[in-house]
């Protein structure tokens, strides 16, 4: 039996060859494409929820003490575990602000972005890009989604359980988190979410190592696959300490242990005689040991998406592919040794801070290399400015601002002024919001035809892009100045402080930019849904791309490829020198 016939698409679901039931096909599927779509849709919903939380907070920030319009009294309801707003007036309460803040961070990082870029794009695209029929462990893949969804639902349910949602920041520092309400459900949810990522990461690593098509050597992999590969290692190695720490914090809350609680705490005027021997700093180290690599998990797949879209829309190979690959690997390795730059102000000595400053400065170098390679890739191209390319190119200067603003934070002396101010919020949001999220938008516009067989509307895409780009800058650029002037993070009412009074005006501008950003997403949401029905139908390769996923039908059937692909060339063979054709797909033999 030829290799081709062996991989003919057929139903693995049932040994008798019957079509799988609705549940097996769409809900409990082991097909990486279905799971990818499940992750993506769930992630997009949580992205929306996380964004909505922030929009309510922005009202309080712009107009402190004013009742929240429309939904103010609704959020004081008895069906919430703890009131977010005051029942009588509809004003956002400080505990509601802190709960929304903690949940905004948690939802965005763990329930929206990572599931989208790794679970969504990674799951759908990686097996296709390496010419595989599915992931190495399809059932494990399904299990990882079904740990993620319950974890996400439990986290969301925390708003409705007694005590309400967690309110100690997504960072959950002890002792505050140990003595605050809502934290227990947060910790249980984190255990589920982390388990999901661990299971998924194993799958990605094994799949990429073992299931590459014939001829697809490591240095012929699309950069997106490299990004997911390094991301897999980051998730696998960095998450276990946080899972352990979450269990330890649970035990401090429920079992009377004191992993993170020192002796002699006086809580609310009374000596807490049940604590002793623990260290709050231990939590910080365990948390940031994960959370720093986690931020590279947030950015690497997005860089991968941007690389794919740029190569495709410049009609030439990426510049410096090798440098980019080595940089991604080096970045992954370095990300494990920089974590304590989040802890410079904890009383760190000169030697330890020197170490972490140095590693943090060093880690900026591979980031700059990847970014610069992507910019130089534009040189000599024939740049098509379609919707995915608009987002992919805008990613570059946005990530640049994010990366550059990391510099004064990486240096301990300047961090004295900037730590825990709005400067930090501006810095990391530049990387994740007009950074990763632009990568996500680029990926959605780019791979939508592969998933659905139809194109999204170009005009709506452009209408989506421009206000989004402007509003993102309108939100996060002023924050850098608010931080420099001296405004602390997580501040329910800035006008309490002299510095806050000076920058309260910026809060108003930022809030209006945020609400406008919300409105700017409407064309995208409309586009997303109507294109399912009335988007232009396409065959396999509407973008005239070279990578393997474009050799499969749109959408690919179960088993992906009609015949097993064989790879003959590098991933971005656009405008091959000395030939008059525009591009050569990876699986096209030399003689064609």
């Amino acid at each position: 039996m030829s290799a081709a016939a062996a991989h003919a698409p057929h139903d693995h679901a049932s040994p008798h060859g019957h079509a799988p039931s609705f549940w097996r096909h769409y809900v409990f599927s082991v097909d990486h494409k279905v799971i990818g779509v499940q992750y993506a849709i769930t992630g997009l919903i949580f992205l929306f929820v996380g964004f909505c939380l922030m929009m309510v907070m922005r009202w309080q920030l712009a107009y402190p003490g004013q009742p929240v319009p429309l939904i103010g009294k609704l959020l004081a309801s008895d069906w919430l575990g703890a009131a977010i707003t005051d029942k009588q007036t509809g004003v956002l309460l400080p505990e509601g602000y802190n709960a929304f803040g903690a949940m905004h961070g948690t939802i965005m990082v763990f329930m929206a972005i990572v599931p989208l870029v790794v679970g969504g794009f990674g799951n759908f695209v990686v097996p296709l890009q390496i010419g595989a029929p599915d992931m190495a462990f399809p059932r494990l893949n399904m299990l990882s989604y079904w740990c993620y969804l319950p974890g996400g639902l439990l986290m969301s349910a925390s708003f409705f359980l007694p005590g309400g949602a967690a309110q100690s920041g997504w960072t959950s520092y002890a002792p505050l988190a140990v003595i605050s309400p809502g934290q227990t459900v947060w910790l249980f949810s984190m255990v589920l979410l982390i388990t999901s990522s661990l299971l998924g990461s194993i799958n990605f690593i094994v799949t990429i190592v073992q299931l590459r098509a014939r001829g697809l050597t490591f240095m012929r992999l699309p950069f997106f696959v490299w990004a997911q590969f390094v991301t897999g290692f980051l998730l696998l190695l960095a998450f276990p300490p946080l899972e352990a720490a979450a269990v330890m914090q649970l035990m401090d809350r429920l079992a009377g242990t004191s992993f993170f609680m020192p002796e002699g705490l006086v809580i609310s005027g009374k000596l807490a005689e049940w604590t002793g021997g623990g260290s709050p700093l231990l939590w910080q180290h365990l948390f940031w040991f994960l959370a720093h690599p986690e931020v590279y998990v947030l950015i690497l797949p997005a860089m991968g998406i941007v690389a794919e879209v740029i190569a495709n829309n410049t009609r030439k190979p990426l510049w410096g592919y090798r440098s980019m690959v080595y940089s991604a690997i080096f970045l992954g390795f370095m990300s494990f040794v920089v974590w304590a730059h989040h802890m410079f102000m904890t009383g760190m000595g000169t030697k330890l801070s020197a170490f972490f400053q140095t590693t943090t400065m060093i880690i900026s170098i591979p980031s700059v290399i990847i970014l610069t390679a992507l910019v130089i890739s534009l040189w000599g191209g024939s740049i098509r400015f379609n919707a995915p390319m608009l987002f992919a190119t805008a990613f570059l200067p946005m990530f640049a601002i994010g990366g550059l603003t990391g510099l004064p934070l990486a240096l301990t002396t300047s961090d004295i002024h900037l730590h825990d101010t709005y400067y930090v919020i501006g810095h990391f949001h530049y990387v994740v919001a007009p950074g990763t999220i632009f990568g996500i938008f680029a990926g959605i516009y780019y791979w939508y035809p592969k998933v659905t067989g139809r194109m999204m509307n170009e005009t709506l895409g452009k209408i989506h892009f421009w206000p989004t780009f402007l509003c993102m800058n309108g939100i996060f650029l002023p924050m850098l100045f608010q931080g420099l002037v001296g405004l602390s993070r997580r501040t329910y009412d800035a006008t309490v402080y002299e510095a806050g009074q000076l920058v309260q005006g910026m809060h108003v501008g930022i809030s209006w930019a945020a609400w406008t950003l919300a409105v700017a997403q409407i064309p995208f949401i409309i586009n997303f849904f109507i294109s399912l029905r009335s988007g232009r139908k396409v065959a396999e390769n509407p973008w005239e791309a070279t990578t393997l996923e474009w050799a499969a039908p749109s959408p690919p059937p179960h088993g992906n490829f009609v015949t097993e692909p064989v790879v003959y060339r590098d991933p971005y063979d656009y405008s091959p020198p000395g030939r008059s054709i525009d591009f050569l797909p990876q699986n096209k033999p030399q003689e064609a």
Binding site: L271, T372, G380, L407, P408
Partner: protein
């Protein structure tokens, strides 16, 4: 009270060490600006010059890499200079070169949800004994009033009175959760961690009253955990210290009683 403060950039610096912080922030931002403008100009140039248009195919020949390599090396060298020439020595000085204890005024600070409690040792230079079991609404640090050393102690809430032109050492601790002691105009920030006593030092060059902010989420009133640092001439400070001693007896409760 408030020196001319920019709405966009750093607050005034009235400390003796703050110039190294400000210099690093300013130099780093110039560096960031140069990089962003240079790199950004190249970026925009590419977008315009290499946009797809009729008669303009992509040029697959690789561009010479020399400029970017030298630029990259230059960036790395400059970062090393910032790190080794500026940040590391400044950090060592700011955080660890403490003034001599006999020249400095040392104050103990115990943070709690949501106040900064300051404990001065007074003329005898010895702090009265404190015990968490003695904490009550009027006695936030649990000062043992029976200890003779307590007689000249001063306990203030949220108001750090200090003399100008004298090094100050503050020993920071917390009763309950992590706070962060931040005086922006003095370029002092230090996390306050329960179970640890962490010292900071600074010296003010000008008198006045400025904010103390909490720079670490500590609960639902974190946003209102605002203290004030009152910097006075040395003789005014000495007079204040004398007048604030804790040993005034508490009045009997007849007039103010309310159920």
């Amino acid at each position: 009270m408030l020196l001319a403060q920019s709405r966009f950039w750093l607050p005034p610096d009235i400390s003796t060490h703050g110039s190294s912080v400000d210099q690093l922030i300013n130099v780093t931002h110039w560096f960031m600006g140069v990089l962003f403008v240079g790199w950004g100009a190249f970026f925009v140039y590419c977008l315009v010059r290499f946009r797809a248009r009729p008669g303009h195919a992509a040029d697959p020949r690789p561009i010479p890499a020399k400029t970017s390599k030298y630029a990259e090396i230059g960036v790395a060298i400059f970062e090393a200079v910032l790190l080794i020439g500026f940040s590391m020595p400044a950090w060592a000085q700011v955080k660890y070169q403490f003034p001599a204890e006999d020249k400095a005024l040392t104050v103990r600070m115990t943070a709690e949800q949501f106040a900064w409690n300051f404990h001065y040792s007074g003329a005898d230079g010895v702090w009265g004994r404190t015990d968490p079991k003695l904490i009550d609404p009027g006695n936030p640090i649990g000062l043992d009033l029976a200890d003779p050393h307590s007689a000249d102690d001063v306990v203030t809430v949220n108001n750090l009175h200090i003399p100008v032109h004298q090094p100050i050492i503050v020993q920071l601790s917390s009763k309950d959760v992590i706070h962060s002691f931040w005086i922006p105009v003095l370029r002092v920030k230090q996390d306050v961690i329960p179970g640890m006593s962490i010292p900071v030092w600074f010296e003010a060059r000008e008198t006045g009253e400025y904010d103390i902010s909490c720079a670490q989420l500590c609960g639902n009133n974190h946003y209102k955990m605002r203290g004030r640092v009152m910097i006075k001439p040395a003789d005014e400070f000495a007079k204040w210290l004398e007048s604030e001693k804790v040993s005034r007896p508490l009045q009997p409760a007849d007039q103010e009683f309310e159920l």
